[in-house]
């Protein structure tokens, strides 16, 4: 299906147009918004097609798999590409309330489009080497977005971010080299067939561990998450929002792919390792969040901790847990993006996100406070919002799989999240005001937050059909035969 290339082609063309267009704010912002809107539209088209007609495959240039590069969209990829479109559109809207002029002149908008292209490509590709290339596309764009300013904190953060991510890429590439040597292919579907036949003892374990390390760094799992809280609070809020919403999810997506396609027959030790790493990620992430006094750093640690939810339920490899994980990823993309945008409003109002400088929002900015309530309490898991439903699904999934300890940890971490978000809410919005507001919150920012709120509420109200969808997505992932046949036996 030719449609599959659109979520990659649209941001690429938009970036090209943006680089040629005048470097003034007005044309740049409108072109960026139009591009993101088109990306969202094309992503929805892809999703609807996948939803109606099953897994969609495009063999680039007509080279049959496994010899060419394959693009594949199953339900998981379709859902996530729509989320990329949503986040992209929200970030493009936010630009209207002002971007640092130097950044904007230097190429903020095209870089953001390249970032979106990299993420969409990573979700749609059916080839591991191609996945590596999309990782690099995404990383280079994110490196430049992160390093565009020259403050000391940003320089430090940027270098840590670059070094650890390049190391992760090297590990991934090493795994790919060994994998090609062992199997003679890098096509995901072909590998799903060949993987169980790797005869040299130990090679599959080495490869699996290399993949696990590389993707865990990208996803920010314990003990490889330290780079994330060290860097995500330094770039401007919209950039942080795009990073937090999308980048670590690509790591989670890659983990879901390799565990469902390749490692489902893997030694139990590997699955246990992922489970232990996820549990530690959840607990340490949220405990660290409780110790922080800066809104954006609290968000970083919450981001880390909640990634653990999704990978913990992935490690169970049951339909119910995986369906919960997909729901949670979707919820988390919307809510964490939204919260970084909220931090952007706080920055505009007070020039700081330290708790000491916040407070009094409830009195000064009642409308903004009402808008901020939904993502904060949704992340906290307050019923009936989407975070509660996602956690409920994950807990039910773990209990149904007999993993009572994991379920218990998920519940405990749910409590820690509630505490963390409760404190954050009380300290930044509810307590008596410390300082007067410097500027207005910015209507486009509030508009984007409101739109993401609408989607969060829609996820809550439409939870039942959405769960039905994610359950089908999970079934598709766990019965990987369908994926393999769609790719290898596609008419081209």
């Amino acid at each position: 299906m030719k449609l599959l290339v659109l979520p990659i082609l649209v941001p690429l063309s938009t970036a090209a147009v943006l680089m040629l267009a005048p470097k003034r704010p007005v044309p740049q912002r409108w072109i960026s918004l139009a591009g993101s809107g088109l990306l969202l539209a094309s992503a929805i088209l892809v999703f609807l097609r996948v939803n109606a007609a099953g897994i969609q495959v495009l063999q680039i240039s007509g080279w049959p798999a496994p010899f060419g590069i394959t693009l594949v969209a199953d339900l998981l990829a379709g859902i996530l590409v729509v989320a990329v479109g949503v986040v992209g559109t929200a970030i493009s809207v936010v630009a209207f309330s002002g971007v640092d002029p130097r950044r904007e002149a230097f190429g903020y908008h095209p870089l953001l489009q390249i970032l979106l292209m990299g993420v969409a490509g990573a979700f749609l590709t059916g080839d591991f080497f191609n996945l590596y290339v999309w990782f690099e596309v995404m990383l280079v764009a994110s490196f430049v977005l992160m390093a565009l300013n020259r403050t000391r904190a940003q320089m430090e953060a940027a270098f840590k971010y670059v070094a650890i991510n390049l190391l992760a890429s090297s590990i991934f590439l090493t795994a790919l080299g060994l994998l090609y040597g062992a199997t003679g292919t890098l096509n995901m579907a072909a590998l799903a067939r060949v993987w169980p036949t790797i005869s040299t003892p130990g090679v599959d374990t080495v490869l699996a561990v290399l993949f696990l390390i590389a993707f865990s760094i990208k996803a920010g799992l314990f003990p490889l998450f330290f780079w994330l809280p060290a860097s995500y609070h330094t770039p401007p809020a919209p950039v942080g929002a795009a990073f937090a919403g999308l980048l670590t999810k690509v790591g989670v997506y890659a983990l879901i792919r390799v565990f469902t396609l390749l490692f489902h027959g893997a030694p139990p030790a590997l699955v246990t390792l992922l489970l232990v790493m996820s549990a530690a990620t959840m607990v340490i992430g949220l405990v660290a969040a409780l110790g922080e006094r800066d809104f954006r750093r609290i968000l970083s640690f919450n981001l880390v901790g909640h990634i653990g939810y999704t990978t913990a339920s992935l490690s169970l490899l049951t339909p119910a847990a995986l369906a919960g994980a997909i729901f949670y990823v979707l919820h988390h993309i919307l809510v964490i993006t939204n919260l970084y945008l909220v931090s952007g409003v706080l920055l505009r109002l007070r020039r700081t996100t330290e708790m000491a400088g916040l407070g009094g929002m409830y009195r000064n900015q009642p409308a903004f406070t009402a808008l901020a309530m939904i993502p904060i309490f949704s992340l906290a898991g307050v019923p009936p919002l989407s975070g509660f439903l996602g956690k409920l699904a994950i807990v039910e999934g773990t209990f149904a799989a007999g993993a009572y300890v994991t379920g218990g940890i998920v519940l405990l971490v749910g409590l820690l999240t509630l505490m963390s978000m409760g404190h954050t809410w009380a300290d930044s919005f509810w307590k008596p005001g410390a300082a007067p507001d410097i500027a207005a919150p910015g209507l486009p920012l509030l508009l984007a937050i409101g739109a993401l709120n609408v989607l969060t509420v829609a996820m809550t109200i439409g939870a039942e059909p959405l769960f039905e969808l994610t359950s089908r997505g999970a079934q598709q992932l766990l019965h990987s035969d369908e994926y393999v046949r769609a790719v290898l036996e596609a008419a081209h």
Partner: protein
């Protein structure tokens, strides 16, 4: 030959990781470069070494005669070299900027407020 190349790529990995663990940004970048070269060598070796058998279908034949060199690892390496080159260039610029902003290339000092 495989043994020699495996050894070479192992040495490149070891040297690269050693340099990445040093405190100076310049050494970190050289380390990254060595690491990516080690990876390229690894892909080349793992893909299988075949001497003087280019994967070209001769005149009059319709298929390749065994044995032939597998072109895929070379294509992968070519891509990886280009990406690695871009990333090294970017890291150098970033290190230069860090030096210009902070006035040191010691990783520990970059984060320290003065």
């Amino acid at each position: 030959m495989e043994g020699l190349l495996a050894l070479a790529s192992g040495i490149l990995y070891a040297a690269g990781i050693y340099l990445m663990l040093r405190r100076r940004l310049a050494q970190l970048i050289i380390g990254l470069g060595l690491l990516s070269n080690g990876t390229n060598l690894l892909i080349f070796t793992a893909g299988g070494l075949t001497r003087a058998r280019p994967p070209v279908v001769p005149d009059g034949a319709t298929a390749l005669a065994q044995p032939y060199a597998d072109p895929v690892p070379q294509a992968l390496i070519l891509t990886a070299i280009v990406i690695g080159f871009g990333l090294t260039a970017f890291s150098l610029v970033l290190a230069h900027r860090v030096h210009a902003t902070v006035g040191t290339d010691d990783v520990d000092d970059v984060g320290r407020e003065r």
